[in-house]
Amino acid sequence: MGIKDLTTMGESQVDIKNEIRQRMDKLVEELPDFCFQCGKCTSGCEAYKLLELEPHRIVALLKRGLIDEMINSDVIWTCMSCFKCRERCPQRVAPVDILFSLKNLSVLQGKQIPGKFTGMLQSILSSGLIQGIQEVTTCDNRTVTRDDLGLPSLITPDSGSFQVSKIAIEKI
């Protein structure tokens, strides 16, 4: 998928939307039935105490088909993707993966992408990495980069071949 599509939703993306919709429908149909609301996911959730994310509630809302409501809520972006809920669920429901799908769907529907994600994505599409080579400060206040430290120069994807990747990503 191209950056233009992600940030402006300039072009329609019927295929991808269908695919993610299908994934969501599959999740709605299958996963939440196994959930018996034991709350083990929420008791260990890294984002619960600080940001009031309740994974068991996300699963319950999904069971009721309240996908649009969740997509419009900021709460799906509070997940720290620590995978404790997936690890500890006795029924293998994986709220963290439900949250990833909800966030993907939210992006596809043109909702505002929070924070620095857009910048990181632009950087990946132009240089292959989430950011360029940074200057860092030493303990005696000098500024250095890779070269000064004697590290080999970084060979990122060359723009010619990565162009292909970009097209590939757009097709995704």
């Binding site: 995978f83 860092v136 030493t138």
Partner: protein, 289 residues
């Protein structure tokens, strides 16, 4: 020498130079040769919230680059290690997705077969190098009482295969004991560093960081040891900021495991990038080492 494709990821080669320096410096002493992988890109994990298929494509592309050289992969970042392992796991179990990704990779003359094994710093030292060889290589035991932080992505989800146990990881502890340190378990050991939400909820992220550091400081540890550039960035470079956010004075030295390894092997501090740590690692060395 055993050869590994050195998959750098994003954060280590663009900012967390100390990790790269110390790995490149120490591993050749332990019979490990690192081969660079030109043209490798981001693993895609930071973009998983935006588009999971993009994550899968980018991970498969990087694995394919290593496979083209018939190399196993050494991914020292916990996030990259998860992305690559999960990609391999998904494509092994989903033939149609594998074909779809490979048809895209074919344009760059790449193919992801799933033959390369993926290693992280912890299992490379613990299982490949082995504690016996490590013990013989130690010249200056590092006598510190240390807390360990593995990073969430390194220990979970165990379903796809992780290098350490998900609820009671001990491999770093075993390595540190071999290096002469005294690792002690603590209640907050499995808590998150906060990095995954740094991009959009920085204050909450740094609150997580600060709370964990405060707990470690209160329990009287000499230092914290990490094995992930994201976790290290939070605990080391952002320590002061995290302290400001939770209104506490934090002063706990934070090392990469490979830096302590280098000190134990008797390697010069500067070659290990210790002058790049922002936490007070240098004051500690003068007193203790």
């Amino acid at each position: 020498m055993k050869q590994y494709g050195f998959y750098l990821g994003c954060l280590m080669p663009t900012e967390q130079y100390a990790y790269e320096l110390s790995l490149r410096e120490t591993l050749p002493h332990l019979d490990i040769e690192l081969i660079d992988l030109p043209g490798a890109s981001c693993c895609g994990e930071p973009m998983k919230s935006i588009n999971q298929l993009m994550t899968l494509y980018l991970s498969a592309r990087n694995i394919a680059i290593a496979e083209k050289k018939s190399l196993d992969i050494f991914a020292p970042c916990a996030m990259c290690h998860l992305a690559l392992t999960e990609c391999q796991h998904i494509l092994q179990h989903n033939e149609s997705m594998k074909n779809r990704i490979n048809s895209l990779l074919a344009q760059e003359d790449l193919e992801m077969k799933g033959t390369s094994r993926i290693f992280h710093t912890v299992d490379l030292l613990h299982d490949v190098v082995g504690l016996d060889l490590l013990k013989h290589a130690v010249k200056n035991p590092v006598a510190l009482k240390v807390a360990t932080h593995y990073g969430c992505h390194l220990i979970r989800p165990s379903e796809i295969g992780r290098p350490v146990d998900s609820e009671n990881p001990q491999k770093m502890e075993n390595i540190l004991i071999t290096l002469g340190a005294t690792p002690v378990d603590y209640p907050q050991k499995l808590d998150c560093c906060g990095a995954p939400i740094l991009a959009h909820l920085p204050e909450s992220a740094l609150t997580k960081t600060g709370q964990k550091l405060q707990a470690i400081q209160d329990q009287g540890f000499d230092a914290l040891v990490t094995v992930c550039p994201w976790c290290q960035k939070m605990f080391d470079a952002r320590q002061q900021k995290a302290g400001e956010i939770i209104a506490a004075t934090l002063n706990i030295p934070v090392f990469y495991l490979s830096q302590l390894l280098g000190l134990a092997l008797g390697i010069d501090k500067k070659k290990l990038g210790l002058h790049l740590n922002h936490s007070s690692v240098n004051s500690l060395e003068v007193e203790e080492l």
